[in-house]
């Protein structure tokens, strides 16, 4: 039952971050939020699906709240959460339904194209969405009270813990085993009685909701959402985060991988050649993975 320590570990880490000063508090919220998107990418990787459009869900979660605030002037957290889950869930269903027939590179490109259509819409409808400048995200309120940094950190930690718990359950579950089956040999899994399309559809929705909630949290933490959230490069980073997570043996691997990626990316910005720092790190991770996990 060691896996059940994951949610506890996440909450503990978030609590520790709370006492680490304002920047660490912010960084913890940002990382926990981003990690939810990584979870989405990771979940689909369990099926062998490389989703280069997961950023669309991430963007939708944040835009749902940002647009709510802009047009309905509501900063209510419950409303925002519902809107984010609804928008991202619907998008996940669309992506899943549309992607059911495609696999491999075709699936990747289909999801990328879908997300880029959303990106195009967000940039194009300048007067509605704020265009490339993006939207302001308010401090969320719960029952009319600002939840503040502490509240946001608690929210992020709870969400991440909840999804870690889901990941733990998933790993042991029938559904998780079917995912492994689909990844290795889809036809065989289908011949054993699994409705592959249905599994992928449900997981797409779950992954999309996770990413949408992640976008909402990151949007709150930076008070801003922009179409960059939906750009395919953003999705690419999440896929890389998901890949690192899949190299890690723990259920909270998605949080660890998000923390590692974001920390290194932020750290790299102080150098004249940041790409070399991030690229070098990825190489080192891959080499380490190859060294330790050889069969």
């Amino acid at each position: 039952m060691r896996g059940w320590l994951s949610p506890i570990a996440i909450i503990t880490a978030a609590t520790a971050a709370y006492f680490g000063g304002p920047f660490l508090r912010f960084a913890a919220v940002y990382i926990l939020g981003w990690s939810l998107a990584v979870f989405g990418a990771w979940l689909l990787l369990r099926y062998g699906l490389v989703n280069f459009g997961i950023g669309a869900s991430y963007a939708l979660g944040a835009y749902a709240a940002g647009l709510m605030y802009r047009y309905l002037h509501t900063a209510d957290l419950a409303v925002h959460l519902l809107a984010a889950v609804g928008a991202a869930g619907a998008w996940g269903a669309l992506n899943g339904a549309v992607g059911i027939k495609t696999r491999g590179i075709y699936y990747s490109l289909l999801s990328l194209s879908l997300s880029m259509v959303l990106y195009g819409v967000l940039v194009k409808f300048y007067t509605v969405t704020g265009g490339s400048d993006g939207l302001y995200m308010p401090d969320p309120r719960l029952l009319g009270v600002r939840i503040g940094t502490a509240g946001l950190l608690a929210l992020a930690a709870l969400l991440a813990a909840a999804w870690a718990a889901l990941g733990e359950v998933f790993g042991r579950s029938y559904a998780g085993h079917v995912a492994a089956g689909i990844k290795i040999n889809e036809l065989r899994t289908s011949a054993l009685g699994a409705d592959v399309g249905r599994h992928i559809l449900i997981s797409s929705v779950l992954a999309s909701i996770a990413a949408g909630l992640g976008g909402l949290i990151v949007g709150y933490s930076t008070s801003h959402v922009s179409p960059d959230f939906a750009y395919w490069v953003t999705s690419g980073k999440m896929v890389v985060g998901g890949l690192i997570a899949s190299f890690l043996p723990w259920t909270w691997g998605f949080v660890a991988s998000a923390a590692l990626y974001q920390a290194v990316e932020l750290y790299s910005l102080q150098f004249a050649y940041p790409e070399l720092v991030v690229g070098g790190l990825l190489l080192a991770i891959l080499a380490a993975w190859r060294l330790y996990y050889r069969r």
């Binding site: 000063g21 304002p22 920047f23 912010f26 960084a27 940002y30 940039v123 194009k124 300048y126 704020g130 265009g131 490339s132 400048d133 993006g134 302001y136 990151v218 949007g219 933490s221 930076t222 008070s223 801003h224 959402v225 922009s226 960059d228 959230f229 750009y231 953003t234 990316e265 932020l266 790299s268 910005l269 102080q270 150098f271 004249a272 050649y273 940041p274 790409e275 070399l276 720092v277 690229g279 070098g280 190489l283 080192a284 891959l286 080499a287 190859r290 060294l291 050889r294 069969r295």
Partner: protein, 440 residues
Amino acid sequence: MVSRRDALKIGASFVVGLGLGAGLASIISGRPSAASQSGTTISLSPPTSSSATQTGQGKEVFKLGVVTFQTGPASIFGVPALNAAQLLVDEINKAGGILGAQIQLVVRDESGGPDKMVAVYKELVQQVGVDAYIGLISSADCLAVAPVAEDIGTTLTVFFDCATKQLVDQGMMKRVAFRTGGTTVTDGVSLAKYVLEVMPDVKTVAGLNQDYAYGHDEWDDFKNALLAMKPDVQIVGELFTPLFTSDYSAQISKILDLAPDLLHTSFWGPDLVNFIKQASARGLFQKVKVAFARGEFGLSQGMPDGQIVEGPDYHAFPDPRAYYVNRDFVNAYQSRFGSAPSYPAYHMANAVLGVKYAIETAAAVENVAWPDLSAVIHAFERLAYPAPGQYIIMAPNHNAMEGAVVGVSKGGDLEKFKFMYPAEVNPPVGVPSTQWIKSL
């Protein structure tokens, strides 16, 4: 289970990784250091008045955060800007620093989007503890960072380049945030005025701009200013292209088809170069005159003669022979980096000098060794100071009233300069830009 071959392979890849790491380390340590070897000293700073009457504790090190593009297509702006920052900081430090405090640059890359820029802002302010922050070229980045800066409210924050008018129109720079440059309104109005001077009979105009907020703003401001001043001008086409398009042949065909008297574009970076190359190969410049809002970088890339190019600053204006501040800046920049400073370098100079003068002025006014933030803000709101490109006049809306240089391309340079005075090309404080443009 690891075979020898595989072990070797992994070992080799590790060595490659390590080599890369070592390479990185050497690059990092090899980045241009604070020590300058240039012989010329810029005589920008007035003698620092550190007299015995001052009270309070002075500062030894002044940490200055600078954030600008070092990677990606926009590094064509960011690199000259950072160069200018390093140059000026070295010169200021050599002359004794700011009130005796040596400036220490803390540089970050402006890559990763607005949310990453908020993260970087918080890191610099809350973690590194910079004394002032200068940064940002992208409008979206500024719009994301401004509310956060005001919310934290502890650190003087100067936007040096982002040209979005929203910062002013929506009053987003309330207390700690300032901008030492103009907006797209400055660009559009100055360009429109110049166009009407050199082409008084212009009848038909088309626009070709990048399809994002900046491109739309540049075009709207130019178009509206032109229409306000000459209502009989006809807009025959408004084209927008995705950022970083490599092929403009369809747009060029369309423009040749429309055959306007004038084409307006605010293209920058690879888009600007691609457009100039492809348009001149198709003979567009023989048929249509083009007004460039960001054309300076195209001058060395084969821009044909006779095209209208807006500064906002240009290294040959104000004439270095007459204006020593620009002369010293151009000479020092040229001898250290091998090329003349481009306009982002001037914008950075505005910001660095603004921070320095605001602090020194505040200290002098308050008669303290080191002024507190509110004193600096108070001083900055009313500051006017000489910068290499022009005299910068700060307005109470925390935005500089910046003028603009417009000229005509000739042999890779600009000529027939006209300087548009700040009051000519900026709305009065408190007047929304759209309303002001209509009244031109």
